[in-house]
Symmetry: C2
Subunit: 127 residues, 2 copies
């Protein structure tokens, strides 16, 4: 059984790895952080993607782009995390920055069981 | 039926009102923002308080104290909100600052149906 500090440490490391992969990993790397039957809702209120194949398709939309990510602030509590981060995407002459707050629930193996991303058009800046 | 922009505006106003009341309101004011059967989990992983009486008891622990609150950043998406805020509490010579990320789900009447607060001892600063 994992102690609470160890669990918090493992969640912290997974979130840091997630931010790194959002900035420079491929879709398979990102999928590897998720449980097989995980759910992903990004943005909240939109479609819920369920399972590895749907989650891989979701991330494929960004992993081909030139991008950079940065963790702004992280909270870990229980089996969950909430964090504010920024993703800057460059597409030719067009650059944009999006700053969501994400919430993740982790399962007993430390995999992401559920992810929800809170953002709207107001949180996108054209650079 | 409420349009999406109107709903986002109503949620935004309720979060601002919540932050104001956390800083200077009484427990009944805060309870008034919640649906009758709402749930409150603060911190995440701790006890889930259910319904107005339990939620009133929860807030009574802080509403007698000298305190100040400040919204750091807010995201509104669908029927939900996620926000980073700071609460500074003064108790005699002792001052502390806590900085949670809260998530709220709203019902069709704009009341808070569920609140979860993400923080741990790491997010408390003794001043």
């Amino acid at each position: 059984m994992t102690s609470a500090p160890d669990k918090a440490q493992a969640i912290t490391e997974t979130v840091h790895r997630y931010i790194e992969l959002v900035g420079s990993g491929d879709a398979d790397d990102l999928v590897g952080l998720y449980a097989a039957d995980a759910t992903l809702e990004d943005p909240v209120g939109g479609e819920v993607h369920i399972g590895h194949q749907a989650i891989r398709n979701f991330y494929s939309a960004i992993t081909g782009l030139d991008r950079k990510s940065e963790l702004v602030t992280l909270r870990v509590a229980g089996n969950e995390a909430a964090f504010h981060f920024a993703l800057t995407i460059t597409n030719g002459d067009h650059r944009m920055r999006i700053e969501p707050i994400d919430v993740m629930v982790f399962d007993g193996d430390g995999k992401i069981a559920g992810m929800k991303a809170y953002w709207s058009a107001e949180n996108i800046t054209q650079l």
